[in-house]
């Protein structure tokens, strides 16, 4: 992450990765999530305190139907993912010397979507920092952190300019919504000064 703007030519190529079973079946996360929700529902149903004089059907019936449905759907979805994995080829963006040819200029090969994990974690991390900082630091500063961090993870190349821009955005929001519309935003450490 140097501050110098590099001028590179970028080639995209469809690459078939050798290792494959799990990589092509990352969609199994979804049935796993459903399983987790269903187990959570079951635990909640079993441990629920139902008031004594409740007329049937009680508060446990509907969640039980939902939980049962989730178990069945999670199983079916898992089978579907295992049987029909995503394409093996991935779209790889890499820097290259000028003159390198693009293997797949038309984008005709069926490609598996790959996620830019660093950008995703950057965005998620920014949100987590924002939430943690909101009460102690106040809206003005943590809002600026949020704007700066998301812009950075989404590919902004001007970190210094962004500092001023994000402070401006966050102050405008503070002025318009807190002073103007009367929303309650935490003042934080700047509370005494403002």
């Amino acid at each position: 992450m140097s501050g110098v703007v590099r001028t590179i030519s970028v080639t995209r190529r469809a690459v078939v990765t050798a290792d494959g079973f799990w990589r092509r079946r990352t969609a199994l996360v979804v049935p796993a999530l459903m399983l987790l929700l269903a187990v959570g529902l079951v635990v909640g149903i079993v441990t629920m305190d139902v008031p004594a004089n409740t007329a049937p059907p009680g508060p446990q019936v509907f969640p039980s139907i939902v939980a049962a449905g989730l178990f069945v759907l999670a199983a079916l979805l898992a089978v579907d993912v295992v049987r029909r994995p995503e394409p093996a080829a991935v779209d790889i963006v890499e820097s290259a010397e000028p003159g390198d040819l693009d293997d797949d200029p038309d984008g005709t090969t069926e490609l598996r979507t790959t996620s830019n994990h660093r950008a995703l974690l950057g965005a998620l991390g920014t949100v987590v920092v924002f939430i943690a900082a909101l009460t102690p630091l106040g809206w003005l500063l943590s809002g600026a952190v949020l704007f700066w961090g998301i812009a950075r993870s989404l590919g902004s190349r001007r970190p210094v300019f962004d500092v001023f821009l994000s402070l401006a955005v966050s102050s405008i929001v503070q002025l318009a919504f807190s002073a103007g519309l009367g929303l309650n935003l935490p003042p934080g450490v700047l509370g005494g000064i403002l």
Binding site: N116, L120, V127
Partner: protein
């Protein structure tokens, strides 16, 4: 004629300077989010919801109407000029619209789409004015069993009929239903799935869910897609803006046909305007195939006119169904339903008696909004396309700030910020692995209704499930539902077979 007098009163409410300002703000905001790819009017309304708390309900709903229709006007601009539809409702009109732009007729394509959206919107609004009160009277015949049938109809229609993969649609529905049961049970008072956390006793706020799914989920998914091949160029809008007589002769019947296709879909809960826009596109294509000078594939004006009119016609009657039946037939309508509840109003038959001034002002604002949007979009469409030059990272950074602001402003609870992040991650996973978002939203909105009506019906019949299918209305609903599912199944296998033979033919 009573409707006309009421509508007149509505116009008197809307045509005040302050309410006209709300219409204008809504229309501008709606068009802006419509133009930007990946952002729809559903998300715009969700973000605005907390911010409009300090407005009176009439002002807020007038603005929401502007946003709703503005999104549908704007979404085809980026589709025509960039080949990236601003929203899924503009995919059908993008196919021919972008070809028109490529052949130097961008201005005509934009004009056709704006006039088409106007035609569809106005005609469906007129129908809503005359038939919504009738529909509301019909709705008073509905008891618990009928409402349960309606909710089940919405669940199955939205997740099985509309989406590509029935399994993924139902999975999204299940995830939504499991979130909808969190909180204190209204009938028995039992605390459910709250883990003893008092902040969860009221359940998870709908603003948290919509903002997380639609706004934060989109931000995460844009981050994850950074560096992949989806860059596109904006084509300049060239050509004369005015349609020639020949253009008009081709487009005018297509506008009307599109409207006719779109109107009935507003009342059927199939999740919005995707289905009618594609039906309109298919109809125009088939009709044009009979003519010798058909332009399909090279930029046919009918291919823009039909779907665009259908999209707005659906949105118009969807508002009618929401107001009269309290039934959300699309994701945007679902969020508007949440907006009504935030103001302590329950859409449905009683709304016309309890808040007539609001209802009629809202209906009048459709007409005013449509005219404002036509003025905003017809001459200025190329200007709107300039919005696409705002760097993406700043755009989404701004959306994140507004999303968090909106969530925190509604409740002042840090827990809600954590929840919105978790829902945002779920939204990202759903986008990444092809699960539709609409069934989850419908499940969260209608889940509690389905459960309450089910338990009421069972309590009335003292546990006899026969009551669920004892009235002609509920039997009809279930029969139509079964027919729709079977019909969709046949349609799907047929298209699958056609595409398979097409692929085999290519290979030979």
């Amino acid at each position: 004629m009573e409707s006309l007098a009421n509508l007149g009163d509505g116009f008197l409410t809307v045509l005040t300077p302050i309410n006209l300002l709300w219409v204008l703000i809504g229309a501008v905001l709606g068009t802006a989010v419509g133009v930007l790819p990946g952002l729809g009017s559903a998300m715009a309304v969700a973000l605005l919801l907390p911010v409009t708390f300090s407005l009176d309900p009439i002002g807020a709903f007038i603005m929401f109407a502007g946003v709703l229709f503005g999104g549908l006007f704007g979404d085809s601009i980026s589709g025509i000029l960039m080949n990236t539809p601003g929203n899924s409702t503009a995919i059908a009109s993008t196919i021919e619209g972008h070809k028109m732009a490529l052949s130097g007729r961008a201005a005509q394509a934009l004009a056709t789409s704006a006039i088409g959206a106007f035609t569809g919107g106005i005609i469906s609004s007129v129908l809503v004015v005359f038939f919504a009160p009738r529909l509301a009277e019909l709705a008073t015949l509905f008891g618990p069993a009928e409402y349960l049938a309606l909710a089940l109809f919405a669940f199955v229609a939205i997740s099985a009929v509309v989406t590509e993969s029935v399994l993924r649609g139902l999975a999204a529905l299940g995830i939504g239903l499991s979130i909808s049961v969190v909180g204190i049970d209204g009938i028995s008072g039992a605390s459910r799935f709250t883990a003893g956390i008092p902040e969860l006793f009221d359940g998870i706020d709908i603003v948290v869910i919509t903002v997380g799914l639609l706004a934060l989920g989109e931000v995460f998914s844009v981050a994850a897609k950074r560096g992949s091949r989806d860059e596109s160029k904006v084509l300049p809008s060239t050509g004369r803006l005015w349609l020639t007589r020949r253009d008009l002769r081709l487009a005018a019947p297509a506008w009307l046909r599109g409207t006719a296709i779109g109107v009935p879909f507003g009342i059927i809960p199939v999740g919005g305007a995707e289905v009618p826009t594609f039906l309109a596109y298919g109809t125009e294509r088939r009709l044009a195939a009979r003519r010798k000078d058909a332009m399909f594939g090279r930029g046919a004006i009918q291919g823009v006119a039909g779907p665009e009119a259908a999209g707005n016609a659906t949105a118009g009657t969807a508002m009618g169904a929401l107001l009269a039946l309290g039934l959300p037939t699309s994701a945007t309508a679902a969020i508007l339903l949440a907006a009504f509840r935030q103001y302590g109003l329950q859409p449905g038959p009683l709304l016309f008696d309890r808040a007539p001034d609001l209802v009629w002002a809202l209906l009048a604002s459709f007409f005013v909004g449509m005219v404002v949007l036509l003025i905003l979009n017809l001459p200025f469409a190329p200007l709107w396309a300039k919005l696409l030059k705002v760097p993406r990272h700043y755009l989404y950074a701004g959306i994140s700030v507004f999303a968090m602001l909106g969530v925190y402003a509604t409740s002042s609870k840090v827990l809600d910020l954590v929840l919105v992040t978790v829902v945002g991650l779920i939204g990202f996973l759903m986008r990444r692995y092809g699960l539709p978002v609409a069934p989850m939203l419908i499940a969260i909105i209608l889940g509690p209704l389905a459960e309450t009506e089910f338990r009421r019906a069972m309590a009335v019949s003292e546990g006899d499930p026969g009551i669920l299918v004892s009235s002609p209305i509920s039997i009809t609903l279930y029969v139509v539902l079964v027919l729709a599912v079977v019909g969709a199944g046949i349609q799907k296998t047929r298209t699958r077979r056609v595409s398979r033979t097409a692929r085999e033919r290519e290979r030979v």
